[in-house]
């Protein structure tokens, strides 16, 4: 195998992708003791991001909402940069602009002044205040500070004007979790702060999609429309992070769409809450169940046949509406596509990495395609994920020659080193941080999950629902064809 060869010019192969400058005379094998992430404290190429970015993602899905990051400028800029690269859209995120003085004296002044400046310049309907490592370590009394900020605003612009802006506090110290947890906390913070009973129960359901792309949310809405179900999608980024180019725009520029505050208030009166990703949004659904008795249906993310079936059945059970013929047709088309491509996908060896909820769904789907997952790596450790993966493997045991390796938590270095010990793979499925691994192993990478920043259009193309699964299947099959078969055989199809 080419990988095992010592590269030319004395360049260790793990350096080739970084630069061409020879860094060492020869390749030295890794200390096997230090490869598993559990055996070391140092993390190499983390497979997760920080909590605040998950919360910012969520706030950007609310109508005329601006996240306000109580931290240094980098906490905002890095996230904005990440969003811009993924969505190719502007991301308006305000910073509290911590400097040394804030680090010494705390962020009280920054918060009050920041909220004031943000309100008088942008007149947002919602401000999602997102805390960071620094504000949490300093022990900023955010609740108290926010009261002061509000009092200051009332003095300056009057109570009526102040009330037009709702402020939601989301505590997201980065060191306590990953972006998945950040989204989860935002979901909970929003329903806790806003959802209220009062009106008669509405004939609606709540959807908390988790960190799904605009294309996915559109596909979910399509399924709901076909079912004839009205729904509130909490953190609906389908328009806010995929806006049309239609100048002239009014300024301050707000992207269209997003979940309205009034809708979030009504979430307490819904028939049920569907949290599509247990780890990203699940706690919001659980809160609504405990506090208002709105039943929570948590997971699985509707990727692939079985999961989409489950989602629609649950929806049908709760709303009493039948699954329409149109969706059966979509399902049929997907099954047809699976039958057409099966001889190419079957027994192909695939490695999957990313966020726990999404890759649990992807893993089930590739099993449905008759592929063999050899390694599955979740960047954020999760119990739901472990359970879900266990049940998938139990169900598809007969297809596997060996039990796939599961990494629950851990980093990309561990994942990469493990893959290097295996016989040749056919495919890697994951996000853009896996490009280096895919190049190193000379295996195609099918991009799914968060973040995807090095290709266009992935944020608009669904992977959920039957139609999304069909698109994902085509990409998987085509990558296998490109990689696996000589031209004369791909041309004869």
């Amino acid at each position: 195998m080419r990988l095992k060869e010592i590269p030319i010019d004395g360049i260790p192969y793990d350096r080739l992708k970084i630069t061409k400058i020879p860094a060492a005379p020869e390749y030295v094998p890794r200390d096997p003791e230090l490869v598993p992430a559990a055996n070391r404290v140092v993390v190499v190429n983390p497979n997760r991001i920080c909590m605040p970015i998950g919360a910012m993602w969520a706030v950007l899905g609310v109508h005329r909402a601006i996240p306000f990051v109580q931290g240094a400028q980098g906490c905002t800029t890095y996230a904005r940069y990440t969003f811009c690269r993924i969505f190719k859209e502007p991301a308006t995120i305000a910073t509290a602009s911590f400097h040394e003085d804030a680090a010494v004296f705390g962020g009280r002044k920054n918060l009050a002044e920041g909220i004031r400046n943000l309100v008088v310049r942008y007149w947002p309907e919602v401000i999602g205040v997102v805390t960071t490592c620094s504000s949490e370590i300093m022990g900023d009394d955010m609740v108290g500070f926010l009261k002061e900020a509000r009092a200051g605003l009332i003095k300056e612009i009057g109570e009526a004007k102040t009330d037009e802006t709702t402020i939601v506090l989301i505590n997201t110290p980065s060191f306590a979790g990953s972006h998945v947890d950040g989204y989860d906390r935002a979901a909970r913070a929003f329903v806790e702060a806003l959802a209220t009973t009062g009106d008669a129960p509405a004939d609606r359901v709540n959807i908390i999609p988790g960190m799904l792309y605009p294309g996915d949310i559109r596909e979910i809405k399509h399924l709901l429309r076909e079912m004839g179900v009205e729904a509130t999608v909490l953190f609906d980024i389908s328009e806010t992070l995929d806006a049309p180019l239609e100048p002239p725009q009014e300024i301050p520029y707000y992207p269209p769409g997003g979940t309205h505050v009034t809708e979030i208030k009504q979430m307490a009166n819904a028939r049920a809450t569907f949290a599509l990703q247990p780890d990203a949004g699940g706690s919001g659904a659980h809160y609504l169940e405990r506090k208002f008795g709105v039943p929570a249906v948590v997971g699985p993310v509707p990727i692939g046949i079985a999961n989409t079936d489950t989602f629609l059945q649950n929806l049908s059970r709760i709303t009493g509406r039948k699954i329409p013929a149109s969706l059966r047709t979509e399902r049929g088309r997907l099954v047809d596509a699976m039958a057409d491509t099966f001889h190419h996908t079957m027994m192909k060896r695939v490695a999957i990495f990313g966020d726990p909820d999404a890759i649990a769904g992807v893993t089930r789907f590739v099993c449905e395609l008759g592929m063999t997952p050899v390694a599955v790596a979740a960047g954020t450790p999760s119990k739901n994920f472990a359970r879900e993966i266990d049940s998938i493997f139990a169900e598809y045991q007969d297809l596997f020659l060996a039990t796939p390796k599961v990494f629950n938590g851990g980093d990309l270095f561990e994942f990469e080193e493990y893959l290097k010990t295996l016989p040749r793979l056919d495919l890697i499925i994951g996000h853009s941080k896996g490009v280096d691994i895919a190049r190193e192993l000379e295996v195609p990478l099918v991009r799914v999950g968060f973040p995807i920043y090095d290709r266009f259009g992935y944020q608009k193309r669904p992977v959920v629902g039957y139609r999304g699964a069909e698109l994902l299947l085509y990409e998987i099959a085509n990558e296998i064809l490109d990689y696996r078969y000589p031209d004369d055989r791909t041309q004869q199809l």
């Binding site: 260790p12 793990d14 970084i18 630069t19 060492a24 070391r40 404290v41 140092v42 993390v43 190499v44 190429n45 983390p46 997760r48 991001i49 920080c50 909590m51 605040p52 931290g71 240094a72 400028q73 980098g74 906490c75 800029t77 890095y78 904005r80 940069y81 990440t82 690269r85 859209e89 502007p90 308006t92 305000a94 910073t95 509290a96 602009s97 400097h99 040394e100 680090a103 002044e113 004031r116 400046n117 310049r121 942008y122 960071t132 490592c133 620094s134 370590i137 300093m138 110290p173 060191f175 306590a176 990953s178 972006h179 100048p247 002239p248 725009q249 520029y253 992207p255 941080k433 280096d436």
Partner: protein
């Protein structure tokens, strides 16, 4: 003096309009106001920007996974990054032992690395981690330099603070650590050049034409051994003044290497750069290099010029490239209507002010709202800036050129051709004719 755009009163003075011969400069170096959508970043970002490209060291971020994640992508390239991935427990009880262990493990995983760079983050800065002590202890154990980069995100006004801290690290630990040998006769260093999309190749080609040898470029092409021998250069060429100035001063103090501040963006700037470098070395070839370069470039950009003539362009980027880029766009026949930067210093703005026309706006640390208002009020034909500003400009119907560039090098005579081609392509892109429906086009014509 009317600025035409509404700014927050506390930012007054940071936006000025050039009028006549009275020099006006925006106030600069002020901390960013809380509550704005700032285009600035943090010191950690600045330090990563400076140091990321050094290949044969271990980059270890002492902070939560997020900072490591963000720090792994710099200038559109992906780098391996090590992290201690702090969790709550470490924040409460301190993470010195964890860091020490992490350095040892990182060196075991990457035994060839010549040094370890340990980056501080906000979290470690706040809990008061004694980075230097841990690094020194670890250095004795792993028998190679373990260097603290003490740039927690909140320090300084912007990423510029990180640039300075990183420059100090290079000076204190890496530059000139090799044997004290004779200077290389034709050896030069390039300071503040990060090799974005092959800029450095263009510069290197020019230096080669002059018979010069590039010893080390900080830090587009720097390795520990190249930096160790950097003191043998005869001349330091400072390209980005913001990031290169401190290095240049330090190397002059320590090794007596003189430096030249130049720019390789635009024909005139490149020509004067080549001229002054050639003069320094007493080379005769400079004149031919310039003449040939300019002749070829002028010929190659001719087809693009009609598309660019008289078009308004607004520039907003890093800092010290303001002046030379303004001049480059002027050479293309474009009208620079705004020039601004995230963290420019007085000299940067003086330099820029001298190169723009009456009525142009100078703006320091513009937050998103100011840019937004400027774009809708003044409607430039082209906006130049970073990725974060790009998509907003698009939404407001203005074509955008990303700088530092996305596609091809802009440095040198050949880079100028790329600049002209890309600017002309963007300005005349069919998409903007479709984006603006006819009724608005008529309106736009009336205005301009």
């Amino acid at each position: 003096m009317s600025v035409l755009i509404e700014i927050l009163p506390s930012r007054r003075g940071q936006v000025v309009v050039k009028r006549g011969n009275v020099p006006v400069l925006p106030e600069c170096g002020r901390p960013t106001l809380p509550g704005v959508i700032s285009e600035r970043s943090c010191a950690f970002y600045g330090a990563r920007w400076m140091l990321a490209a050094i290949p044969d060291v271990i980059h270890l971020v002492h902070g939560p996974a997020g900072c490591a994640y963000y720090g792994s992508t710099v200038r559109r390239k992906s780098y391996r990054i090590f992290s201690t991935q702090l969790v709550e427990r470490d924040i409460i009880f301190g993470a010195g032992a964890k860091l020490y262990q992490a350095v040892l493990e990182a060196c075991a995983l990457d035994p060839h690395a010549c040094a370890v760079l340990v980056y501080a983050t906000c979290g470690t800065g706040l809990i008061g981690e004694d980075l230097l002590a841990v690094c020194n202890r670890a250095a004795r154990k792993v028998n190679r330099p373990v260097v603290p980069v003490n740039a927690p995100g909140f320090c300084g006004r912007s990423q510029a603070a990180g640039h300075d801290i990183a420059a100090r690290v290079l000076l204190d630990y890496f530059i000139g650590t090799g044997e004290a040998r004779e200077p290389v006769d034709n050896g030069v260093n390039v300071l503040g050049e990060f090799d974005v999309q092959g800029d450095l190749d263009e510069i290197d080609a020019l230096l080669k034409q002059l018979g010069l040898k590039l010893i080390c470029a900080f830090s587009g092409r720097a390795s520990v051994s190249a930096m160790a021998g950097a003191h043998r250069a005869r001349l330091n060429i400072v390209h980005c003044q913001r990031t290169g100035h401190l290095l240049a001063e330090g190397m002059q103090d320590r090794f007596g290497i003189p430096y030249l501040k130049v720019s390789f963006f635009g024909l005139e700037e490149t020509a004067s750069a080549v001229r002054s470098i050639a003069r320094f070395f007493g080379t005769t070839g400079g004149k031919e290099v310039i003449e040939e370069g300019i002749r070829n470039a002028r010929k190659a950009v001719t087809p693009f010029l009609p598309k660019l003539a008289g078009k308004r362009v607004a520039l907003f980027f890093g800092a010290s490239r303001m002046g030379s880029m303004a001049r480059a766009f002027a050479e293309l026949g474009m009208d620079v209507v705004m020039i601004g930067s995230q963290f420019g210093c007085r000299e940067d703005y003086q330099d820029a002010e001298a190169k723009i026309k009456d009525g142009a706006v100078l703006i320091d640390d513009a937050p998103e709202k100011d840019l937004e208002e400027f774009i809708s009020e003044r409607r430039p034909h082209l906006m130049v800036g970073g990725t974060k500003e790009k998509y907003l400009a698009h939404k407001l119907g203005v074509p955008f050129l990303v700088f530092p560039q996305e596609m091809s090098p802009f440095a040198g005579f050949r880079g100028f051709i790329n600049l002209a081609r890309e600017a002309a392509g963007l300005v005349s892109a069919p998409v903007w004719r479709m984006a603006w429906p006819k009724c608005y086009l008529a309106l736009q014509a009336k205005e301009s």
